[in-house]
């Protein structure tokens, strides 16, 4: 059935159109005294079977972006105020609730950060594992049970049959996340959104869980959006990366390009603020000074400008659009030939990127230190 769905859906759209295409997504949270500009014009694509990273610090809008894709923003404060979210050409942002409900779990599934509050404490694992199945198919209790057992085997939980009757508190953290993965992949969705799937887990378990996600999604050809602030996870798991800052995507490209040739000052800062395993003793960590902008204020200029060592006067007034680093025209958005793109008026040179700081005081520069606001 999933196979049939997939074929039907593939036939319905252009051969080279991406699976998911987010365009100019704007999400704002309205509270009684302020409006939070959580996501401001984010665009990115995900092709069938691709694993794409979404990186950024806490509060940069990466989780909100994905909750918006799933239409799970907390109501009534969070609203999609603009843009489109095209899955196979269908706009998820404009769908009726009953239509998006059919998409959730079947076409797009989600894994959340902390598996403890994500599982219902009063329902057995069986009940929760079959949630997806029951929401989308008429299925007998016996079949659902068998499927649940198969899923537990698939995610490597030993002794699955008696464990079905267990409750979440009888599982360890890593086991719970495996159950979550099994729930999310029950119907072999075409897109899996993994929102910091390993942040709440023990380091030793993290690798196992990531490997499990990679293996299972490769098997089913499921595309993955991996949200994380862990650059190591990004390097190991993804083919492409989008770097987010304060509700904008500031740099996008192949994972190898981003790590080898970081071109946006924020990405440069990120990479210089974590120690490298081959960095040697003399390696200097350069923190990004300052704090992210107050997103209660409508963004003016480049959001990173107040913290940026490369900023110019123009940066403070005009928000740069995202363009190819090498200045070429049409950008390739998905796949192995994806264009390396940044949103920056005054990008660091490769030498400066390697050093992590501006090498000479340029004429256009406002100040050399990053902490001036």
């Amino acid at each position: 059935m999933t196979q049939a769905n997939r074929l039907r859906a593939t036939a319905a759209r252009d051969a080279d159109a991406p699976l998911l295409s987010v365009r100019d997504l704007v999400v704002r949270f309205k509270t009684h005294d302020a409006t939070v500009h959580a996501v401001t014009g984010v665009s990115f694509d995900v092709a069938e079977g691709e694993t794409v990273g979404l990186v950024g610090e806490s509060g940069c809008g990466k989780s909100v972006t994905n909750l918006a894709i799933m239409r799970l923003l907390p109501k009534p404060a969070g609203r999609i105020e603009g843009g489109r979210v095209l899955l196979d050409g269908q706009d998820l942002a404009a769908m009726a609730e009953s239509e998006i409900r059919d998409i959730r779990g079947r076409d797009v599934a989600m894994i959340f950060q902390d598996p403890m509050p994500s599982l219902n404490p009063v329902l057995t694992i069986e009940e929760q594992l079959t949630e997806t199945l029951r929401a989308h198919r008429k299925i007998s209790a016996a079949d659902a049970r068998q499927r649940a057992i198969d899923l537990l085997v698939l995610v490597g939980i030993p002794n699955p049959e008696p464990r079905l009757r267990n409750f979440p508190h009888q599982f360890s953290g890593g086991m719970r996340q495996r159950v979550m993965i099994a729930m999310a992949l029950a119907l072999e969705p075409r897109l899996l959104i993994a929102d910091e799937p390993t942040t709440a887990l023990d380091v030793t378990i993290q690798a196992q869980v990531l490997e499990l996600i990679r293996d299972l999604t490769q098997k089913t050809g499921t595309a993955v959006i991996l949200i994380t602030h862990d650059l190591g996870v990004v390097a190991g798991m993804t083919q492409r990366v989008n770097v987010m800052y304060a509700g904008f995507i500031v740099e996008a490209g192949l994972t190898t390009d981003i790590f080898a040739k970081p071109s946006h000052p924020y990405t440069v800062g990120l990479l210089h603020s974590i120690p490298r395993i081959d960095g040697g003793e003399g390696e200097e960590l350069i923190p990004i000074e300052g704090a992210p902008p107050n997103q209660r204020l409508a963004p003016v200029g480049c959001p990173f400008a107040p913290r940026c060592a490369w900023r110019t006067d123009r940066c403070l007034t005009e928000n740069p659009v995202i363009v190819a680093v090498d200045g070429s025209g049409a950008a390739v958005l998905t796949g192995a030939a994806a264009t390396h793109r940044i949103a920056c008026h005054n990008p660091p040179t490769p030498a400066e990127a390697a050093a992590g700081r501006p090498l000479s005081g340029g004429a256009s520069r406002v100040g050399a230190t990053g902490d001036a606001r």
Partner: protein
């Protein structure tokens, strides 16, 4: 880069699950006051059920010649103004209290539960309208509301049950709605939504079982209040219309009328009311502690 995930064989062996309720019960068993409460309740229910066999005398047979006789070995609690055995009447009175308590709290739970689920589950205008009605009902003191209903519908057991149910229903509705609202933003609810669960399933299957614990505690405590309410109505002369019916509150009124001649008569019904009400209160508090993980010591 390996492509196979090693099977996890951790020390977490599958053990027979006692589940949420099993764990709660084992916590309850360690709670001494709750055990005392349970003993009171078991005694109360046992007495109510076995009254015809347990009572030493017929509660309605007496003789005016023996009116107000003091307690003796034959009549442990003495005789009332019609010469009836007070202890036997107290034993039969347990039936009325238990029946009215259980029926009225059950009816209150059903009505209040439905209102609470509709308000907390649907939210919006439905919630607003229902909660304003609940506000109005909560604004009237419970016993006053009950008196009003009995005065309106006339005396009788069914009316008493209805009156007590009506005073309880808005309390249950409010509690359930509050729990459901708090659960609406729970992460597992978002997860269930992300799996494609519809609103009905979210509320009934995911949120309601989590909200029930508060309601169970409230219902247990409401049983204590119901017993007192029934006795209170009886005391005010709004008890069962048939004067032969043994009802604790009515018995208390009768005994106060003869307080100077036969002070012993107030003890048996008074003790019965206190013990049964305290029993449900202690159990309710114990349940609250054992069902609420935040109160875990």
């Amino acid at each position: 880069m390996t492509t196979r995930t090693p099977p996890v064989t951790l020390a977490v062996e599958a053990r027979a699950s006692r589940g949420l309720w099993g764990d709660a019960f084992s916590r309850l068993r360690r709670n001494k006051p709750a055990i005392v409460g349970m003993v009171c309740i078991v005694l109360f229910v046992f007495v109510a059920i076995t009254a015809p066999w347990l009572a030493p005398f017929d509660p309605n047979k007496g003789g005016l010649g023996k009116s107000f006789e003091a307690p003796s070995l034959a009549h442990l609690a003495g005789l009332d103004k019609l010469g009836r055995d007070e202890l036997s009447r107290v034993i039969f009175g347990a039936r009325i209290s238990l029946l009215v308590g259980v029926v009225s709290v059950t009816v209150g739970l059903l009505v209040g539960g439905v209102v609470g689920v509709l308000a907390g589950g649907l939210g919006g205008k439905v919630d607003m309208v229902l909660m304003r009605i609940v506000d109005v009902m909560l604004a009237i003191p419970g016993i006053l509301l009950a008196i009003g209903i009995v005065a309106w519908l006339g005396q009788g057991l069914v009316q008493i049950m209805l009156a007590v149910a009506v005073t309880n229903a808005p309390i249950f509705a409010r509690i359930l709605r509050g729990s459901l609202l708090a659960l609406r933003d729970a992460e597992f609810v978002t997860v269930a939504r992300s799996m494609g669960a519809d609103g009905r399933r979210l509320v009934l299957r995911h949120m309601l079982p989590n909200a029930l614990t508060a309601l169970i505690v409230a219902a247990t405590l409401a049983l204590a209040t119901a017993i007192i309410d029934v006795a209170g109505l009886g005391f005010l002369g709004l008890g069962p219309p048939d004067p032969r019916t043994a009802e604790w509150g009515t018995m208390l009124t009768d005994s106060t009328e003869a307080l100077r001649r036969a002070p012993h008569l107030i003890f048996a019904p008074g003790i019965a009311i206190v013990l049964s009400a305290i029993g449900f209160n202690l159990l309710g508090d114990g349940l609250r502690e054992s069902l609420d993980p935040r109160l875990k010591r």
